[in-house]
Subunit: 217 residues, 2 copies
């Protein structure tokens, strides 16, 4: 598939590399056409890079890996027309560090999640929230953590979740690791979960972990 990954931070680069390795044509999108880390990534991997709009225009799937507090701005730069009808995989964490550490998780309007805020702002995009509950290393290499630990899907569009599940599979997630939580409002606890993740990472002294949901028999 032709995939745009918006955001040139660690998460964007990891996902771009992981998806490219799986055989997808990936364009790393950034605010400007001459972004240095995007150019470096493209040179190192043989991938492409360009502006948010360049990347989104030709893509079938768009991955939002920008910082959560500026995601709507980045997606606006990508262009509503370039998002319309497309699967928009939102992996962003809307962390607000303005009050220090630990950060707060920003909510929007009357308490909705970033994913819902994106969906309302771009009603023709098919938004799916996923992957924001793990570190970027685990995102693209889940086997580094033992056991059937989990990743979650939230979204109102069934087919978009199916496409996203396929991409998770390409990154190494097995079917029994993927839990579909339901509609897009389930992105609220998923986004808030970063605070639990931060507390756990501090207690464990590592980012290299994940949670596994275990049921009684």
């Amino acid at each position: 598939m032709n995939i745009a990954v918006l955001g040139t931070g660690e998460v964007g680069q990891s996902l771009a590399t992981g998806l490219a390795k799986a055989g997808h044509t990936v364009t790393l999108g950034s605010r400007t056409a001459d972004n240095a880390s995007a150019a470096e990534w493209a040179a190192g991997t043989g991938g492409r890079h360009g502006t948010f709009a360049d990347a989104a225009a030709s893509a079938e799937v768009i991955v939002n890996a920008t910082s959560g507090l500026v995601s709507v701005e980045a997606l606006t730069a990508a262009g509503a027309d370039n998002l319309a009808g497309k699967v928009l995989v939102d992996v962003a964490n809307p962390l607000d560090f303005s009050g220090g550490f630990p950060p707060r998780v920003a909510t929007f309007d009357e308490g909705i999640s970033l994913a819902e805020h994106i969906q309302r702002t771009f009603p023709d995009a098919r938004v799916v929230k996923t992957l924001c509950t793990v570190n970027n290393a685990v995102m693209v290499d889940p086997a580094r953590v033992p056991g059937t630990h989990n990743v979650f899907l939230s979204g109102d569009d069934r087919d978009a979740k199916k496409v996203t599940g396929g991409l998770l599979g390409d990154l190494g997630w097995t079917l029994d690791q993927i839990i579909d939580l339901g509609g897009l409002p389930t992105a609220r606890p998923i986004e808030q979960n970063i605070l639990m993740w931060l507390a756990l990472s501090q207690a464990l002294g590592t980012y290299d972990f994940n949670i596994s949901v275990q049921r009684a028999d």
Copy 2:
């Protein structure tokens, strides 16, 4: 030990029964001395019951299993003097259903958790947050869920956490299942986690589960 369990709902009764079975002397505390479910519990188990103040007065450890939105009121009725110097195990979830389902998790003052709010209101109590991340059946019978799934401790008093860890052990939690997250502010993500728990319970169709934290090797 002499333990007061405040709150006669499912969680309070389960914990009271579980702790009594482990050999502790348990008093189930409620708003009034003639609470019907407390009397029934006491008759059925041979335990004691009484007002919040009755229960707290003679107790070495107090378990707050009241509804989170009225916990401070219940603890005020128990009496600050009866809490002073004692381990106060807070298992309450401050769920606010005033806006419908899913509920919100109430925060206090400038965004602090219920556990911190209780600690600030009763500065001489030794507050530990735990167990609010699982259903009451799992609280008192962790072996019903397979694997080394986890329970968490948050608190500023090391000895109080040790005592609480011991009580968790009495309920069947093994040492490797108990994760000490650090100070009481870590109760914030722990309390927010109920939203993730609710979303998971809806996706799985059961309350009978828990999360396990799995680390890379």
